[in-house]
């Protein structure tokens, strides 16, 4: 998985609780992304980062926040989890230089909000 780990890999939580998912990379890539994947919707971009402390919203960012204080770590926080945020979350990285547009994905985190 191209030097990307996600933690936790599985989580069950209750509605209204905060949840933080972690993405860690060892590739020193500039760009990092958080997606969610749901049946019938494919992968949808939540937030992405183009450098330390540089982040921007994706198409489904409501209810989510992110932080990147180090190149290797990108955190996704659900401020107050809702059942609609039950999903599989994928982190991806991209070197962001030259003609390397390929994204490399982590193994995913399966989140269930009860």
């Amino acid at each position: 998985d191209a030097g990307i780990t996600q933690s936790p890999r599985h989580k069950v939580t209750e509605t209204g609780t905060p949840v933080t998912l972690r993405c860690h990379q060892t590739e020193n890539h500039r760009y990092m992304y958080w997606y969610r994947q749901d049946p019938g919707h494919g992968l949808r971009l939540i937030h992405y980062s183009y450098g330390v402390k540089d982040t921007d919203k994706g198409e489904v960012s409501d209810g989510y926040s992110v932080s990147r204080s180090k190149t290797e770590d990108f955190l996704l926080t659900l401020e107050s989890a809702t059942s609609s945020q039950t999903s599989v979350y994928f982190c991806a990285i991209n070197p962001g230089q030259g003609a390397q547009e390929t994204q490399y994905f982590g193994p995913g985190t399966r989140l269930l909000v009860l």
Partner: protein, 112 residues
């Protein structure tokens, strides 16, 4: 609005045949298009990238075409094998920003 469509129905073919998957898009003018493979319970894995000025790209048994007039990409797997069974996703570059928009994927089943 921008939209990417892949056949949501699974493609079921016999081993040894050629599998052809389709990706159509609207309201885009992407500089490139990518195909990824995803196995159950795992993250997508990059397969091929084709640019707007390329008509065709090959890698081993894989071939991708990109028709910017039709706004369509075709993904072919020749001499298919049961190990090729997976979901295949197409993705388009968005806004020249290293962001991708993904289709919902097509599941391929290759029968022995």
């Amino acid at each position: 609005s921008q939209k990417i469509e892949q056949n949501s129905e699974a493609l079921n073919i016999q081993e040894g045949k050629t599998a052809t998957l389709t990706c159509n898009y609207t309201n885009y003018s992407p500089a490139y298009l990518q195909w990824y493979r995803q196995d159950p319970g795992r993250g997508p894995v990059f397969l091929l990238l084709i640019r707007e000025n390329e008509k065709e790209k090959r890698k081993e048994r894989l071939k991708v075409t990109f028709d910017t007039t039709l706004k369509q990409s075709l993904f072919h797997i020749t001499a298919s094998q049961p190990a090729d069974s997976a979901t295949y996703l197409c993705a388009l570059e968005k806004d020249s920003s290293y962001k991708l928009i993904f289709g919902s994927g097509t599941r391929l089943l290759v029968r022995p």
